[in-house]
């Protein structure tokens, strides 16, 4: 077993989740990539990446680290219930969002092109997170 | 303690000078020194020319301008017999005598540590057992456990160390013994290396040692073996580079005897001791570079950290 695979996710569930994420990226041409990881950095699922060059293992780990620091930063500034964080880049932006279900704490990362609108992207990712949460709850 | 001084070939003025100095200096020395006049039978003889004396007698020759120690028994104290040279002479004689008496005291401990270390190092059969006996009495049983030699004994550590340090021991192979665990009342188990370490540190050799450059390949098990405040620094220094005893003493603000004892302990505990001759110019082995401001800042931070946390080493 690859040590970075998560024992929480069965192969069947992973295939279904991959397909789910691919569906979202296929439907929204501004949404370039999606990854779902456990809050402690294991890959759960990811969409195809156009270039095929993304290291999904590292991205999963980095997403969880970002979430971890974001939660603490929010607490430190007296803000509660951190929901997500945004990274702005010249070529686009990344949004990280927490996905909480029974049994799994997960982090959803969306990579958006620069043509995307911030508000739309936030709304899109929020809905995807909700769908994934429902999917995982039902699947369980 | 009383000690005697006599003279050979001194004139009246010089003899008067000696007596006058003693009146002042006897409050500044550990012993009380008595001047006996001209004769050959004293602890210290002051003379103008080299003379032949017994091995226990010290000789001080009025020669040259300054105090100079030729060896442990022979000195030059300057023709003018200055009081400070005289004081230095008496103190050095007293220190030597104290050292020599401790040498005799520490000899059984030194021998015991060496014997134990050598015996275990040369025992190739890790299944074998041995005993340490004093006369007919078995002090402890030795056995190997997971590659490390241990001693099983009824004596607590302090008592075991005392026995090893004060008696003549013999080591001999024995039949296999049943190793009783520490739950068994009154049975203690100690690592041989821990005992050798503690013996070597507590009872250092005071023989003059040849200073060389030393380096160790393995740190001692500090915290498990007996640990003194200066040991982390000594281990760090000799673990990373060759250094002399003088450098070790300077770095840790401890005595050269303590550093020598530490290095002896490292050697006897098989910590991969290596030696090199001192450089010819006898200069300090460490680089004489101007310290950078970064280094200075770091040193200051570390000092602050030690102070804040109350860590062992203090060398203000």
């Amino acid at each position: 077993m690859n040590p970075t695979d998560n024992p929480v996710f069965s192969p069947t569930l992973k295939v279904k989740c991959d397909a789910l994420l691919n569906g979202y990226t296929d439907d929204d041409h501004h949404l370039e990539f999606l990854s779902l990881s456990t809050s402690d950095g294991y890959i759960l699922a990811h969409s195809r990446s156009e270039s095929g060059l993304l290291n999904c293992r590292r991205i999963s780990a980095m997403s969880s680290s970002l979430s971890g620091i974001s939660i603490e930063l929010a607490k430190e500034t007296r803000n509660t219930n951190m929901e997500g964080s945004i990274i702005e880049c010249e070529t686009g932006f990344l949004i990280c969002r927490l996905v909480r279900t029974d049994g799994i704490d997960a982090v959803l990362l969306g990579v958006f092109s620069k043509e995307s609108n911030h508000g739309m992207a936030l709304w899109t990712l929020k809905n995807i997170a909700k769908s994934i949460s429902e999917f995982l709850t039902v699947y369980k | 303690m009383e000690s005697t001084i006599s003279s050979i070939g001194l004139n009246d003025y010089e003899e008067g000078l000696v007596q006058g100095h003693l009146k002042v200096l006897n409050t500044k020395t550990h012993r009380t020194w008595h001047y006996q006049g001209a004769n050959m039978d004293a602890d210290l003889i002051i003379t103008k020319r080299p003379i032949t004396v017994t091995s226990q007698t010290c000789v001080a020759i009025l020669s040259g301008d300054v105090f100079k120690k030729v060896d442990d028994r022979c000195y030059h104290i300057g023709e003018s017999l200055r009081i400070f040279s005289f004081l230095e002479l008496l103190r050095d004689i007293e220190d030597n005598a104290e050292r020599e008496s401790k040498d005799d005291e520490n000899m059984p401990a030194i021998l015991a540590a060496e014997q134990l270390s050598l015996y275990c190092h040369t025992l190739s059969d890790r299944q074998s057992h041995f005993q340490i006996v004093i006369g007919e009495q078995i002090l402890c049983q030795g056995y190997s456990d997971q590659g490390e030699w241990h001693l099983m004994t009824r004596f607590p550590k302090k008592e075991l160390i005392h026995q090893l340090a004060t008696k003549t021991i013999n080591l001999k192979k024995s039949q296999s013994v049943q190793v009783q665990d520490t739950q068994h009342e009154g049975i203690h188990h100690f690592s041989v290396r821990a005992i050798v370490w503690e013996l070597s540190i507590a009872y250092p050799s005071r023989e003059p040692f040849k200073d060389q450059l030393f380096k160790i390949a393995t740190w001692p098990l500090l915290g498990t073996w007996h640990t003194e405040p200066y040991m982390p620094r000594l281990s760090a220094l000799y673990g990373r580079q060759f250094a002399s005893i003088a450098e070790g003493a300077k770095f840790t603000n401890s005595s050269e005897t303590q550093v020598h004892a530490f290095l002896t302990a490292c050697q006897l505990c098989q910590l991969g001791m290596k030696k090199q001759p001192l450089p010819l110019n006898q200069a300090t082995h460490t680089e004489e570079t101007t310290s950078s401001s970064d280094n200075h800042e770091t040193a200051g931070l570390l000092k602050g950290l030690r102070r804040k946390l109350g860590l062992a080493f203090g060398y203000e």
């Binding site: 970075t4 998560n6 024992p7 456990t38 809050s39 402690d40 950095g41 294991y42 590292r58 999963s60 780990a61 980095m62 969880s64 680290s65 970002l66 979430s67 971890g68 620091i69 603490e72 799994i104 704490d105 | 997971q146 590659g147 490390e148 160790i216 390949a217 393995t218 740190w219 098990l221 500090l222 915290g223 498990t224 982390p232 620094r233 281990s235 760090a236 220094l237 673990g239 990373r240 580079q241 770095f251 991969g272 460490t286 680089e287 101007t290 310290s291 950078s292 280094n295 200075h296 770091t298 040193a299 200051g300 931070l301 602050g304 950290l305 102070r307 804040k308 946390l309 860590l311 080493f313």
Partner: protein
């Protein structure tokens, strides 16, 4: 306040890094814990996902920062980031977990700069004589002279001893460079 120097706490998940920092930090340490989904590796409820951060204040101007790395391999991208500027590392090794030589290899290679400067203190927890021997043998085989000490990360006095050894090493380096105090 001036920027302080840094001491790193490294080791596998569950070795006690967060605990060790907590035992000596002046401020309650910042931790980045998330639910541990790999209970087959370590039976802890949570695990560090970014870093732990603590601080020891020396005076009103100076402080020493304490950083704990996340121990799992998939967070190794953070290790060089956290290593920058570190005076040294305290390597906590739980001898009841995993393969000791393999763990020693992994972390000593990952922090090679500190290893090569003798600036790693190896602290063994849940150990026995055999584990101590294996560690000593590994050090010998790899020609390394690093301090090895038995220690419980929950005990403040034990963690202070680890700091003592680390400080001694840095001081030895400074002494070699001609900085004496």
């Amino acid at each position: 306040m001036n920027n302080g120097k840094k001491i790193l706490f490294i080791g596998s998940m569950g070795a006690g890094k967060t605990t060790a920092i907590s035992s000596i930090s002046d401020d309650p340490p910042v931790t980045t814990e998330a639910m541990n989904s790999a209970r087959h590796i370590s039976d802890k409820q949570t695990t560090t996902v970014a870093m732990d951060f603590g601080r020891i204040y020396l005076d009103q101007f100076d402080a020493i920062d304490l950083y704990g790395i996340p121990g799992q391999d998939h967070f190794d991208f953070l290790w060089p980031i956290l290593e920058k500027g570190a005076l040294g590392a305290i390597f906590l090794l739980d001898c009841s977990q995993g393969d000791i030589p393999e763990t020693l290899d992994r972390f000593c290679n990952a922090f090679a700069r500190l290893r090569d400067n003798n600036a790693i203190v190896i602290a063994l927890n849940r150990t026995d004589q055999h584990s101590v021997q294996r560690c000593q043998q590994w050090l010998f085989d790899n020609n390394l002279t690093l301090p090895l000490i038995l220690s419980d990360p929950r005990e403040r006095t034990d963690v202070l001893m680890l700091l003592e050894l680390l400080i001694a090493n840095v001081e030895a380096e400074l002494f070699s460079a001609g900085e004496t105090q």
